[in-house]
Amino acid sequence: MSLSLREVGYRYAGAARTALTDVSLDLEAGRVLGIVGANQAGKSTLCLVAAGLAPATIGGELSGEVTIDGVATRSARPWELAQRCGIVFQNAATQLSGTTASVWEEVAFGPRNLGMPITEVADRVAWALDALAIIELAARDPERLSGGQAQLVALAGVLAMRPAYLVLDEPTSQLDPQGTDLVATAIAALAEQSGAGVLVAEHKTDLLARLAAEVVVLGNGQVLAHGRAEEVLADERLDEWGVEPPSGVRLQRAAKAAGVRLPAENVA
């Protein structure tokens, strides 16, 4: 079982050139796959394509094959896809429905759209709030949360759809360090405990070094490198690709160039 992209190309509706070219990758249950790349490299597009929103919701032209547990996203309906693969964007404010009075109701928004029995809705909300350890926010007004809390509520709203895969498009880029810690800790726990496959696009390679088992580097809509996180994040060409290496890698490299040794256990 996996979310799989085979020789995928994508062009936005009305765009002259393709945003993705010949991308193949697999995301397995319980794994975290990181996506890095310079701005405009195609990270966000890859997120939309993997979650099936492109082309199901926003149109455009897809070539190759994107399948989620064997189901092609090309022919699936948006609300069916929503139950297979969830997506969270960088800006929490635009993801909250803006119609609910409490966090509990906000998280219930998706399951209610599916018309589930109320007991099932309550089950799912309780599970999602628990998975992210935010039960204490249940009664709060979603408009009055910190950035990190709002992002966790947005994530909970998607989790309540019980997708097998999660796509996170720069989930911490609008957050302060406190919010970033909050969200990163939640993502790490989630992959481990819920068994969801998580694809996360991030500039913060320090964060990916901590979360991801595997990393893909994108450039110009193509895969430039793909492999185990330790290897890809230590690749000499990262700078060239417009990606900042993790701090630890950078410091080790500088130390080596200067002929001094930084013991690995101190850099971790």
Binding site: S146, P177, G242, V243, E244, L251, A258, R261, L262, N266
Partner: protein, 274 residues
């Protein structure tokens, strides 16, 4: 000895609903100086810099800009002295082209003709958007719109430049550009104040770091002092993580090494002694 660029004395601020945002802030920034302001969201960083151009008015204490009290001066007037590049570029971009967007500020200051063109061109070159002059700003990606916002402040050529989270959303090249702009501003004798959560950017580019918590300045010194182990409990209380280089330096018993260069240097010296 010239007047400080910014000087606050016992500056306090409360919002109309009574929420306290600043408490007795004493801050003096030399003309041509470079200062980073750090601390968790809600600690008062943005509230503080909004006093420098009169967007907010002190409820207690005073604020002087280039030696003159901001008192009753209009924001439009203070904008000649202080330019603030806000965090979210989408809260300011309105023009149909990149060139017009960048020209808005200088034109408000009465700049026109060749001088205007010159300033706009220089600002666009500094952020690397000279190729996009005629583009519609909303056809640019977020990181480029952010650089456009920065250019629109640079073109005003204010003696004091405030950058609110200039590196967020930028990739490695974008961050390098921001660093180069900060250096260029200093070379021209401008005062640069940056609010940032990016500790590497702060430690490597700012000789002075001011740490805020709950509306107060709790630490103020060089990166060496502010990121030294003794300050860690205070930093943790406002959710600031010291840069990795500083943490490694402490683990290796090398003292305070907030930057890559200082860590390598300290490690080399330690190796030479042993």
């Amino acid at each position: 000895m010239s007047e400080p660029a910014i000087e606050t004395h016992r500056l306090g601020f409360a919002y109309p609903d009574g929420t306290r945002a600043l408490e007795a802030v004493d801050l003096s920034i030399d003309t041509g100086g470079r200062v980073a302001i750090i601390g968790q969201n809600g600690s008062g960083k943005s509230t503080l810099v909004r006093h420098f151009d009169g967007l907010l008015r002190a409820t207690e204490g005073t604020v002087n800009v280039n030696g003159e009290p901001v008192g009753g001066r209009h924001v439009a007037d203070l904008a000649r002295a202080v330019g603030i590049a806000f965090q979210n570029p989408d809260r300011q971009i309105f023009a149909a082209s990149v060139v017009r967007e960048v020209g808005f500020g200088p034109r408000n200051l009465g700049v026109s003709g060749d001088d205007l063109d010159l300033r706009v061109d220089a600002a666009l070159a500094a952020v690397g958007l000279e190729e996009s002059r005629a583009a519609n700003p909303y056809d640019l990606g977020y990181s480029q719109r952010k650089l456009l916002g920065l250019a629109s402040i640079l073109a005003m050529r204010t003696p004091i430049v405030v950058l609110d989270e200039p590196t967020t959303g930028q990739d490695a090249r974008g961050v390098a550009r921001v660093r180069a702009i900060v250096d260029a501003l200093t070379e021209m004798g401008r005062t640069v104040i940056a609010i940032s959560h990016d500790m590497r950017f702060v430690a490597e580019n700012f000789p002075r770091v001011v740490v805020m918590r709950a509306g107060r300045i709790v630490l103020d010194g060089s990166p060496n002092d502010v990121f030294a182990e003794a300050s860690w409990p205070m930093l943790a209380s406002t959710f600031v993580h010291p840069p990795l280089a500083a943490r490694i330096g402490v683990r290796m018993g090398l003292g305070s090494t907030p930057t890559e260069a200082s860590l390598i240097e300290a490690a080399r010296r330690a190796a030479g002694q042993s």
